[in-house]
């Protein structure tokens, strides 16, 4: 009892002491966040100038960042901000700069080249932006020349789109129970097999919409032990393209962290489908797909929006097959910038090094999201 009181008194006193210390002798970052003196160092070296710029971007201090640039006369502050956050609504718009790395590439007495890798965090994971910056000496300080990527301009034109959409009228509460509702789309798992990975068991496969109507799909898998008892149940979450048009195929990947394949007797698969209103647009072409071998194995290519509207977010899903045509891996990536009509946007999907050698072919599908949907 006495010990408890002693501990409580100690915590109270320590709290008061820390508050006093923090108030009278605050740390530089606390001062900066409170709107006081900047935590930035003098831009006396090229690296320090780039680090200061990175800190200002992280603090969303666009005005300060813009005014510190050496080539700011070439563009406006708004263009600079949109170059980093996206000219159109996209994942970048709501991403926050988590951290950045600065790497000097070369330097002379009057100018230098420094690489900055910006690590953004978004709702669907992290993405990295790399920019090579030219830094120029200006008196006793160094100024960064920002390599602005201009807003992509789509030439004035008319893109004819024969919109095709499906609308659904479901049965109402007043209908007789014998009146059938509209049939759920018929979907079929055309390939599935479990794989043991270091992080656990992974179920890979492909799902086909074999119907003539669009389907909202998801896949759930349950691992069963050899005695038939369930071990774990998981869904595909976002490792699938949820909207499937007629005869469209999507890969899926389901993770079972910490599970061991040797303990699994069988797998119960549950593909789910529901009839949804959908549009057949936009059409996205995937150009120049290349499987890049290890090290740093990846699938790269470019997405070209062949429709007339802006696609805000594109989700690239790559299915990788071995020589026998069996699925060996499914990987994905979200594009961090919007897809403008006819403007290629690159993608780079990482492939695990150990699997890269087994991969013989691949197939890529794109799921798209547009603000307000394609009407």
């Amino acid at each position: 009892m006495n010990k408890g009181r002693l501990l409580a008194a100690f915590i109270s006193v320590a709290t008061v002491v820390f508050i006093v210390i923090g108030t009278f002798w605050p740390g530089p970052s606390a001062v900066a966040y409170a709107g006081g003196k900047s935590l930035l160092r003098p831009s006396s070296t090229p690296t320090a100038a780039v680090e200061n710029l990175g800190d200002e971007i992280r603090l969303l201090a666009w005005e300060k960042a813009y005014s510190s640039l050496g080539n700011k006369a070439q563009f406006t502050e708004q263009e600079f901000e949109h170059d980093l956050t996206g000219y159109y609504l996209s994942l970048r718009t709501y991403a926050t700069l988590e951290s950045f790395d600065v790497r000097p590439l070369h330097a002379s007495n009057n100018d230098a080249e420094v690489q900055i890798r910006l690590h953004w965090s978004s709702v669907v994971g992290a993405f990295v932006n790399t920019r090579n910056l030219r830094v120029v000496k200006n008196g006793d300080r160094w100024d960064v020349d920002w390599p602005l990527v201009k807003k992509p301009l789509v030439p004035p034109q008319v893109i004819a789109v024969n919109y095709l959409r499906w609308d659904v009228i479901d049965r109402g509460p007043g209908d007789d129970w014998g009146v059938q509702d509209v049939e759920a789309p018929h979907v079929r798992i055309v390939d599935m097999h479990p794989v043991q990975r270091a992080e656990g068991v992974v179920i890979l496969g492909e799902l086909l919409n074999e119907d003539v109507v669009p389907a909202y799909v998801s896949v759930r898998a349950t691992l069963l032990a050899k005695n038939g008892s369930p071990i774990a149940s998981e869904g595909s979450f976002d490792k699938i393209s949820h909207i499937l048009l007629p005869k469209q195929v999507t890969p899926f990947l389901i993770n079972f962290p910490n599970a061991t394949l040797s303990e699994v007797g069988s797998v119960r698969m549950g593909p789910l489908s529901a009839l949804v209103s959908a549009s057949a647009d936009p059409v996205i072409e995937i150009e120049n797909q290349r499987l890049n071998p290890a090290p740093d194995a990846s699938l790269t290519g470019q997405l070209v929006n062949q429709s007339g509207q802006v696609v805000n977010i594109a989700h690239v899903l790559g299915t990788f097959y071995d020589k026998t045509g069996q699925v060996v891996w499914v990987a994905d990536q979200y594009t961090d910038s919007a897809l403008l009509p006819q403007s290629p946007v690159p993608f780079d999907v990482h492939v695990p090094e150990d699997l890269a050698r087994k991969i013989s072919s691949e197939r890529t599908v794109i799921a798209t999201y547009s603000v307000g949907g394609f009407q």
């Binding site: 024969n162 095709l164 499906w166 007789d176 129970w177 014998g178 009146v179 059938q180 509702d181 509209v182 049939e183 055309v190 086909l208 919409n209 074999e210 119907d211 003539v212 109507v213 669009p214 048009l245 007629p246 005869k247 469209q248 195929v249 057949a280 647009d281 059409v283 996205i284 072409e285 995937i286 150009e287 120049n288 797909q289 290349r290 290519g301 062949q306 691949e362 197939r363 890529t364 599908v365 794109i366």
Partner: protein
């Protein structure tokens, strides 16, 4: 042990009823009453009494004169089932039971046709199940003849006649080779119910494409896409074009519009272009060379 106890209780109840009947008069009850029909109960004895009829979802109370006949108009009892009839005459009580059976005349059908949409050319792909009800929604359990008729948009009408068993009858029909909307009708006497079944085209068959140069691009276009029965595959169906060239690949998923799929792809000399829809592969084109 439970059954013995039930027998004992039943025997005691029966003894009590018989005694009550002996003291207060007895009832002449119909064994069965058709749902909704008029019926009467005759009570012997003299004086006044109260008659109760209690059954599934219904309870009736009548003040009666013993020695007379109490009439119940049509529609008094309409829920099929077993009813308990109790006559209370002062301190004495008599009871009996009667059964209300469904009306013999069908008045309503519940018709379940499945599925509402299926591919053409499926043997026994369409099922129809009928439950026959009277005017009071009682399931008619006596055998009745049900006529099923499936009328496709073209071709012969398929007909089956089935007899209900415990109030239900079912059948299976084939989807025909022609796409369109079928009318599926079930009829018992003059009562009928109709459902709509949509026959949709099957997988593409003989998928073919052609390519022609248009500047730096190839205009790739399929022939009109049809299933193996010659039905046009519906617009919106995804056709995948794949172009392989120099170790790289371009793919595009294109929805059918006006029966064909078309796309522009980069024109590379020696490129191999293939086409597929779902699990169906089409032809392959080697461009140039």
């Amino acid at each position: 042990m439970r059954s013995r106890l039930a027998c004992l209780l039943g025997g005691l109840t029966l003894a009590t009823v018989q005694m009550a009947c002996a003291e207060g008069g007895s009832m002449d009850l119909p064994t069965t009453v058709e749902a909704g029909n008029a019926f009467s109960i005759q009570c012997t004895g003299s004086g006044k009494a109260v008659l109760y009829i209690v059954g599934p979802g219904q309870a009736l109370r009548r003040d009666v004169e013993l020695g007379g006949t109490t009439s119940f108009p049509a529609g008094s009892l309409y829920n099929a089932g077993h009813y308990l009839v109790v006559l209370v005459a002062g301190p004495s009580t008599g009871s009996g039971s009667l059964n209300v059976v469904p009306a013999s005349q069908p008045a309503d059908l519940s018709f379940l046709a499945r599925p509402s949409r299926l591919p053409v050319g499926l043997h026994d792909g369409i099922s129809g199940t009928v439950y026959v009800f009277d005017a009071y929604r009682n399931l008619i359990t006596t055998p009745a003849s049900v006529s099923f008729e499936l009328s496709p948009p073209s071709g012969a009408v398929q007909q089956r006649t089935m007899v209900t068993h415990d109030g239900a009858a079912w059948t299976e029909m084939d989807s025909t080779a022609k796409e369109g909307v079928d009318t599926f009708k079930a009829q018992v006497d003059r009562v009928s119910s109709t459902r709509v079944v949509e026959q949709v085209p099957g997988d593409p068959c003989g998928l073919r494409m052609a390519a022609r140069q248009s500047g730096p691009y190839l205009e790739v276009q399929t022939d009109p896409v049809r299933d193996c029965s010659g039905n046009a595959v519906p617009d919106g169906t995804i056709v995948t074009f794949t172009e392989n060239y120099g170790g790289a690949q371009s793919t595009v998923d294109v929805p059918l519009k006006h029966g064909i799929a078309q796309v522009e792809m980069p024109a590379y000399n020696g490129a191999r272009i293939s086409v597929a829809s779902g699990v169906v592969l089409g032809n392959e084109i080697q461009w140039g060379r």
